[in-house]
Symmetry: C2
C-alpha cells in the first residue's frame, strides 16, 4: 500500500507544469471576468477562450461553473488569509478582533463587488455535488476567524458561535450584494453576532 495515498485530498494526481499553468490561467480568467460583471459575466465559453483552453478542457478541470467559481473563491481566500496574517487585528476582546477582521475582509470585497457577487452567489447556490469544495471554503473561513480570536483549542460552544458568525457573514453579504442592506447595516449585523463570542468567555466587558 502506497504511503501517501488516501489521506485528506481524494487522490488528486499531481499536475504537470503545463497543467498547473492551465489551471492558473483558467482561475485568472474567471476572476477577471467576474470582476467585470459578476456571476452572469463568467461565461464558460469566454473563460475557455480567455484562458486559451478548449471548452472540454475547462470542464475537465472544473466540472461546472459553480465549481469554477468556488475554486476561484478558495484562491482569493488564500490571498486574503495571507494578507490578514501580516496585520493581525488589534482589538482588546476576541469579539472586537473578529469583527475587525470580518470588516477588513468586507472592505476588500467592496473593492471588487462584482467578483464578490460571483463568488458568494456560487457558494450559496452550490448543490451537493460541490459540497466538498464549499466545505473547504468554510473550513478556511473558520480558521481565519479562530485566528482572529486567538484560540488554540476552542470549546464546542465556541465552535458553535463561530459557525453562527459564518452564517451571518454569508447571509449578510448576500443581502448587501442584492442591494437589500447597506454597508452600515452589514457592519451592525457583524458586530451584533460577534457579541456571541463574549457569551462563551469568562472575561466579557461591560
Amino acid at each position: 500500500m502506497p504511503a501517501e495515498a488516501s489521506s485528506s485530498r481524494p487522490a488528486t494526481p499531481p499536475l504537470t507544469e503545463r497543467q498547473e499553468a492551465r489551471r492558473r490561467r483558467i482561475l485568472h480568467a474567471s476572476a477577471q471576468l467576474a470582476s467585470r460583471g459578476g456571476f452572469d459575466a463568467v461565461q464558460m465559453r469566454e473563460v475557455a477562450e480567455s484562458s486559451q483552453v478548449a471548452l472540454g478542457t475547462l470542464y475537465r478541470y472544473f466540472p461546472s461553473k459553480v465549481h469554477l467559481l468556488v475554486a476561484t473563491m478558495q484562491d482569493q481566500l488564500e490571498h486574503m488569509h495571507g494578507t490578514l496574517r501580516k496585520k493581525p487585528p488589534a482589538g482588546d476582546t476576541a469579539a472586537e478582533r473578529v469583527a475587525e477582521t470580518l470588516m477588513r475582509a468586507f472592505r476588500a470585497l467592496q473593492r471588487e463587488p462584482h467578483l464578490a457577487d460571483a463568488m458568494v452567489r456560487a457558494l450559496t447556490f452550490a448543490d451537493r455535488s460541490v459540497s466538498p469544495e464549499v466545505d473547504q471554503v468554510s473550513r478556511q473561513t473558520t480558521v481565519i476567524i479562530l485566528d482572529a480570536m486567538g484560540l488554540e483549542h476552542p470549546t464546542p460552544e465556541q465552535l458553535s458561535a463561530v459557525r453562527v458568525i459564518e452564517h451571518t457573514w454569508h447571509s449578510a453579504l448576500i443581502t448587501w450584494l442584492s442591494g437589500r442592506a447597506s454597508i452600515a447595516q452589514v457592519k451592525i449585523d457583524i458586530e451584533t453576532v460577534c457579541r456571541l463570542i463574549d457569551l462563551t468567555e469568562p472575561e466579557g466587558r461591560t
Copy 2:
C-alpha cells in the same frame, strides 16, 4: 387623483377571477414539481404545461424562475404563519420561544426537503431584480420571529438580533440542504444564535 392609487403595492391591477385561478394553478404546479425534485425539477416548460398555461403567459405572471419560486415561498410562508399562530410557542424566555418556532418551521421543511431546496436556493440566488419580493419574504419572517418573542415595540438592538437570527436561519438551512450540516447541527446553531436575544433583555436566565 384616484384615492387608492400609489400606496404599498406598485399599482397591481386587480386580477380577474380566471387570472387569479391561473396564478393559483401556476403556484400549485410549481410547489408540486419542487416537492418532487427541488430547484432543478421546476422547469418552466413543465410548470406551464402542468398549470395549463402557455409559456409566454407563465412569464407574464412571473418574470423568471426565481421570481416564481420566491412567490411560491411567499405562499408557503403564509400557510406556515397561520399554522404557527394557532399554537404559539410555550417557552419561558423569548430566546426559547424563537428557537422553538424556528425548529417547528424546520421540521415542516424536513417533511418536504425538495421543496425547501427549491425555495431557499431561489431566495439566496435571487439578484437585484427580485429584491422587492425577497424583501417581502424577509419582512414576513421578521414578523414571525417578533411574534414568537412577543414584542410590540422592539428596540433597534433587538431588531439587529432578529436580523442576525434570520441570517443564521437561511444559511443554516443551506448547509443542511447541501448535506454539509446535520439536523442536529442546525438545531444547535439556531439555539446558539437565539441566545443573542437574551443579551438585549434585562431578565436573562442562568
